[in-house]
């Protein structure tokens, strides 16, 4: 477990995503109603950043072909994607958002 600071709370507006490229793969940090989650950033269908996606009901919709992923688990919620993205453990330290960049896993 090696949590590292990836951003501050203020870097990710409410119901928005932020792409962070500091670890083995780019990850997307999401702010869901003040709670922060991290999943793999690259849509498994076609290369596209999920941080740029549209957030609704705890899911992110890829803006390219409208695949949906659960922001809490990385699971696929709508096609055309068929494979999940990893989810990453997130911690807070004051205003800092920390992510275990080596701890990505599939639900």
């Amino acid at each position: 477990m090696a949590f590292v600071k990836v951003c501050t709370v203020g870097d990710v507006p409410l119901d928005q995503g932020l792409r962070v490229d500091m670890g083995p793969e780019p990850i997307a940090i999401f702010n869901l109603g003040g709670e922060f989650f991290a999943i793999g950033d690259t849509c498994t269908h076609s290369d596209w950043s999920l941080a740029e996606g549209y957030i609704e009901d705890g899911q992110v919709e890829c803006t390219l072909h409208m695949a949906k992923f659960c922001i809490r688990t990385g699971k696929v919620k709508a096609p055309p994607a068929t494979e999940a993205v990893k989810y990453y453990p997130v911690k807070h330290d004051g205003d800092d958002v920390l992510v275990d960049l080596e701890g990505g896993a599939y639900t």
């Binding site: 119901d15 269908h45 076609s46 290369d47 740029e52 996606g53 549209y54 919709e61 803006t63 390219l64 072909h65 409208m66 096609p79 055309p80 068929t82």
Partner: protein, 410 residues
């Protein structure tokens, strides 16, 4: 589910057919499924054919096959590839194939797609004149693209413009011939046509718009030039014809199924014959967002209508209501459009066309009925929701780039 339902045949091993097969299993159907396809390949997605596969022919695209081959084995879906379905034998509960075999079928889903139209002019059948519909077409075209080659694209629709951009990116000398007075005239407004024309010209494509094709000239059976109706001769090493598709209705017609611009289906994807359903490019269905019948030739529809037909067949269907959506990549521009993007009484521009990244919202009687964006995908996500919710946002707020579109959905 009826006990009598033991065999389902899907004609068309394509995106719609592949999704229909997967959806049947997802819904719990455990009888036989046979997926019949004329091409040798299992279901694949067509978007890379006019883009990645032409620009980077040596790299296999990330998104091509709908499912890995193991999917069909694991889900006990029988693939009958490389063989054409010849007829539906409804009383005999079977589909007959060109090799003489019969596939038992209590129910049939027709995902027969369309045939790329060819050019009906003298010389239209010369060598190096290609349409682009399937993998083989794409590979054949890609093999001809190299710096300095003269490529003439006939048709300034989505396929034609994507091929033109891809060929130009490979260093070819590209000319586009479009008979209509503007590009992509069926799906975008004159302002967007003008933007696309300018974009292609700026990249060095020569655009002949409002001009038809008189004939093709060749030597030794290979095309050498395209002669336009204005008498201009365009040198051609390769001609790509992108003038649309005709829905493949032969099987349906042969079985007495009601057809008319495709196979006519109801909102449950049911044809005029109870045992047969249809989905994908071939299906002509009432569309609640367009308030008319429509045959949608796009990826999202093939995928979702295929799955909807499967659910409907098993009695678990809901009325299918797909918001029309398409996208097109041309050079660095990603064009996406949803809903009604031609007819409107107000078009609200958000951003500047000159910057190459902008969005347009189409309103009728104050209600958002369509949205188009160039390289602004997030605005499409919000715009689609506005169309689906019949939003009536303040036009000034829509045009204001600093406004949060999500707050305007209502």
């Amino acid at each position: 589910m009826s006990d009598a339902l033991k065999n389902i045949a899907i004609v068309g091993a394509n995106l719609a057919g592949g999704y229909a097969a997967g959806a049947l299993r997802k819904q719990g159907y455990d009888g036989a499924i046979t997926l019949i396809g004329e091409e040798p390949d299992p279901p694949y997605e067509r978007p890379p054919l006019s883009k990645e596969m032409l620009v980077h022919p040596d790299v296999s695209p990330k998104t091509l096959f709908v499912h890995p081959l193991s999917f069909y084995t694991e889900h006990n879906i029988t693939l009958r590839l490389g063989v054409r379905a010849e007829a539906l034998d409804l009383s005999g509960k079977a589909v007959t194939l060109a090799d003489g075999s019969r596939i038992a079928a209590d129910r049939i889903i027709l995902c027969t797609g369309g045939h790329a139209r060819r050019l009906n002019v003298p010389g239209g059948d010369l060598g190096n004149v290609h349409v682009l519909r399937n993998l083989a077409d794409s590979r054949a075209i890609a093999a001809h693209l190299s710096p300095g080659k003269n490529v003439v694209v006939i048709g300034g629709g989505v396929i034609g413009l994507e091929v033109a951009a891809s060929a130009r990116m490979r260093g070819c000398e590209v000319a586009v011939v479009e008979a209509a007075p503007r590009l992509m005239s069926r799906v975008v407004t004159p302002e967007i046509s003008a933007f696309l024309e300018l974009a292609h010209r700026a990249k060095g494509c020569v655009m002949h718009i409002g001009v038809g094709v008189q004939s093709l000239h060749g030597a030794n059976g290979i095309v050498r030039a395209v002669e336009t109706t204005s008498g201009v001769q365009l040198a051609a090493d390769l001609v790509v014809v992108g003038v649309g598709i005709d829905p493949a209705i032969e099987l349906a017609k042969g079985a007495g199924i009601n057809c008319g611009n495709g196979i006519v289906v109801d909102e449950f994807c049911r044809t005029s014959v109870p045992e047969v359903l249809a989905a994908g490019d071939v299906a002509n269905q009432p569309n609640p967002y367009l308030n008319r019948r429509a045959r949608l030739e796009n990826v999202q529809n093939a995928q979702n209508q295929g799955a909807a037909a499967a659910a409907s067949l098993l009695g678990a269907g809901e009325p299918y209501a797909e918001l029309p959506y398409f996208w097109s990549d041309q050079f660095e521009y990603m064009l996406q459009a949803a809903g009604e993007t031609v007819i409107c009484d107000q078009a609200i521009l958000r951003g500047s066309v000159e910057s190459g990244a902008f969005s347009v919202f189409y309103l009728t009687a104050g209600v958002v009925t369509g949205v188009l964006a160039v390289s602004q995908p997030k605005n499409i996500a919000a715009g689609r929701r506005m169309v689906m919710k019949h939003s009536q946002p303040d036009p000034a707020a829509l045009a204001d780039e600093s406004s949060d579109l999500r707050k305007l959905i209502g």
